[in-house]
Symmetry: D2
Subunit: 342 residues, 4 copies
């Protein structure tokens, strides 16, 4: 059976990545590509790498007949997404890739995003989209809120440890290194090649990055108490990839076996042998996340390193994985492509 | 039906690319991975991006039972390849990715490669592996000689024009820009990141690059007279991609329609609208080749620009395309993955 | 004696490069930094790499007292430059880095730039700023028009040959590979890191790039007849550097000795030994241009390769070299810094 | 007065960087360039970016007349350096850039480097080369041991805080991001462009990097007790640059004012305004180190970020700064070049 798919926000990087992944999926047919600012343009002009696909031209959202759609991916900017989704048919299955429905508490949303939530009534329906930890809820959900790419990486590196109670909850530091595509196809000076290539820097230093809202919500929920982590992202001159270096207090061997047990049946979460740590090179373009653990020379401390591709496992691949669950398809369908190296 | 596949030279980039492509192919099973210098090692250590695949360890060639193999890819260095292939079973289907069997004339081989050919008796069987131009011969071949990656790019940009007689055969200049993976996983100073990043240079200037042997052989054969082109490759700080800028004398409109006619039914060769030219960004990790044509301001001159991924369409993708033909599979099987952008 | 210097357009890359070079010059003092759109900002915020210099804040142009200025660099966008310069004091020494005063013929200007020239009366005073070929005129000039960076590279690779009559004037092809900083600090989608890194493409294909106006003007003037070259620029994923690969018909040995003779006394133009060709890696951040020559395998043809840094020798370094001449300083003063490698 | 300088190890990156810096120094003359493995070669072939300098050919060390040398830079690999230096004249002033004389305790040396020290008698003379903290000793020293580049960065970010007692000594984490040139011009697979570009990874995870020996020695000495930090370096796809993100427990405002006070008179150590953090882009090719401080959202915690160029301030620039002190020249002489951006 073929499911009919719409993508809103098809002119951005996560939209293009969805198309890339869906093109290899046997059960889905893209029947609408929405992109307000580029409506009317051909995808071959907006994304020439999709030239060979027989894609529809981009359209305005109001030109789409949502009645014929089985599932809609919303790859829109934050805030736009909630405005659009509140006006979509109430029974339409939606996977949202924006930040708009990740935080269950509207007050937390307002704190981190600076404006009141504009679709609180829809928020209640949303399931948090970290597939490996919300699988059953996602399968039954109408609206799934895709996680932040940094938030996904950090949670893969920490959730099993918090669940298992094997680390000190007050001493968690996440130092993330992020490729530039996570910032989207936006015309900002610091994203120019000349500004970024051959150098790197921290940003949102001191706990101001919005993905902290997700860490706070999820880690506190698991722990049953407030958990606040330190989190510093860095912008690295590479297009794809997130590398999380996580400093914790706990026993490295126990941490490693906790990962091995928890992720043993997970097709996309690969735990490396004890002492080995991953590289973003080896997950590029794929839905895999590689996770490694090493003990520190200081007893009782360990370092966890997790690597994934922000556009795939961190965003559009996760979205497709969730859509597969929502539509009753094999969870891994369309997602097993091998990373592209070199 | 599942065909049993061996790869010799599995520890190099073209070997790894073959594994990446074969992993997504429904009809092939990899039953042997040969790599002399790294025999005994696990692929997860040699290429961590293949970690999740359930691959065999690397073996010495003499440990492989070729009787059970349906087709063998040889991704070995030049000269090694001929020594190995001459000792393989005479009925074994082989796709060779090295330069060893590309030149039909042993004297030409010796001129370009500096040593006498060591397997002249096998050379006679070899079919030149440029799929779109040798499709029927390849389907019947036992031994297919994969083309050079530069040679493939240049031929896609020129063969239809020489066939159709629409350009001046004495005034052809190919200026190629090549990513670094074409040089393989070799420990050479000029391939270090610190030497290559943020700069670029010509090499083999003046007509000394070995792929000229292929241009000479093929273009002269088509034209029925000697054709010698000028060819200057350049090393660009990028991992994948070849961009050929070809300067010819001829009518741009006629050239463009010649491409459109010749490539109309070709799934991988995409002719851009008149006046548009391609970018290597948009073919990365894929088996597509994008080709564009523009008239020069000087009447009677045109520029052709062709882009492909050297490891895929220029090498391992081509090899798989040829194997599909040799084994009676759909030619495009395992090869339709969308380019990875950004 | 200290000369007082103003820079208009100090918030762009050529402006910043001027400041970098002037900071090491013993005889110049920067007394005004103009930048309309960022007026009021501190240079440490606009260009943090200049943080340690005790620079003035950016100002509007009308806040500058030009009466106290000995020489003004105009690093403004095309078209803006002519509007500003026509209103500057008539006796003020100016080095303009824009395209506005490069073409002596207003009709040619209008053809290439698409609008009538807005300061024809000033154009008459302008001397073309290719230092090594207009040294005496520059020393006496009030207004010097800096050359295009591509135009400089191409002329270094061709002027001596046209002067000496050693190449066929109707068969000249310039294939240029350009780093991204040549496009300036402008918010364009194709200049984003995610769009540019790891790929490359031709642009302005077919003879539409504006720097052709300079080639036409200069080469025809030298030759005493119309000379039209083919010129295709390519955008390469690197921040600095232009590599010109020039295809000519002529004797390589004669071409090489022509360069050696013509450039023997030039401090910045380095002719490589016969058969060697340069790399942009080795001129980065410097005012040097490396030039090499190789014969093609086809008799009577040669390839010339020239490399320079577009921001230094191709723009701001050239501008300082000209200013040195105009103010009676040593021509090389402030310009002998060694290239930064790796 | 002109001092006569020798460089041993002139064919490596730190050797080339020394030549680059010395070329702009008014008081030094390079009279010998030693490089055993490339003895006899011209520098223009080994490092074409030095082509325009009138440099001597590379020589074997035993061909150098050290009696005429005022100061010798040793830019040799670890272990080789101690073997060479023990045989140099006992009164020769030496700045060593290797790791061989950094650790005062031979046992600590053996622990971190895996072999007994081969020149213990010389070790006693060595002064640790972190200029801003050993200025007086360096001025009087015969042998100065240049610091590790990571070690320098980490110390600039921590020494004043340990001196002032404003942070918790048991809770210091250094997460470093390092460009590739720090690994030298060595033929290793992981340093190839194809392996490194577009990805990044941690290495020496868990406290096994040798520069920890320096941190342990220096921090413990300042604190008067054992101080052990956590330190994880990461390899980033860029040629130059180290970014240290340092997590500490202490008051951010107090930390910031401690830096401002301590570094107020330091020409190369630039403290950013409170809350701002630096980028490696803005120190490239220069001897500057930029340092920023931000409070974390968790009270009592702060993040310090320091950026420098590993080849300049982290190695050869530091070496020249020390040589200036040892020879009675102005400390900043030859070192004030502005960073190269973009």
């Amino acid at each position: 059976m073929t499911h009919k798919i719409a993508i809103l926000g098809a002119s951005g990087y996560t939209g293009a990545e969805l198309i890339r992944l869906l093109a290899g999926h046997p059960a889905y047919e893209i029947v609408a590509l929405g992109a307000h600012s580029k409506a009317g343009q051909r995808m071959a002009d907006v994304f020439p790498h999709l030239r060979h696909l027989d894609l529809l031209a981009l359209t305005r959202f109001d030109e789409i007949d949502f009645a014929q759609i089985d599932l809609c991916f919303c790859a829109l900017p934050h805030k736009t997404s909630q405005e659009v989704i509140r006006n979509l048919p109430k029974e339409l299955k939606i996977v949202d890739l924006s930040a708009d429905f990740r935080l269950r508490d509207p007050a937390a949303y307002e704190t981190w995003y600076g404006n009141p939530h504009g679709a609180v009534e829809v928020q209640g329906e949303a399931v948090y989209g970290l597939t490996e930890f919300y699988r059953d809820e996602i399968a039954k959900a109408r609206l799934v809120a895709g996680t932040g790419c940094n938030a996904a990486t950090g949670q893969f590196a920490l959730r099993p440890l918090i669940e298992a109670g094997v680390i000190d909850l007050d001493e968690i530091i996440l130092d993330l290194k992020c490729g530039v595509s996570g910032a989207g196809r936006s015309l900002k000076e610091n994203l120019l090649h000349a500004e970024l290539s051959e150098g790197y820097n921290a940003y949102a230093v001191g706990g101001t990055h919005r993905h902290l809202g997700e860490f706070d919500q999820e880690f506190s929920k698991i722990a049953g108490r407030e958990v606040k982590v330190q989190f510093t992202p860095h912008l690295i001159p590479a297009n794809r990839g997130i590398l999380a270096t996580v400093y914790v207090k706990g026993d490295a061997q126990l941490i490693h076996s906790t990962f091995e047990n928890r992720y043993a049946a997970e097709p996309f979460l690969q735990v490396l042998p004890m002492g080995e740590t991953p590289s973003t090179h080896h997950v590029r373009g794929s839905n895999f996340c590689h996770i490694g653990v090493a003990p520190d020379r200081i007893e009782g401390r360990a370092i966890i390193v997790a690597a994934l591709d922000n556009l795939t496992k961190g965003s559009s691949g996760q979205a497709l994985q969730n859509a597969n669950l929502m539509l009753g398809e094999e969870e891994t369908s369309g997602l097993m492509a091998v990373p592209v190296f070199p």
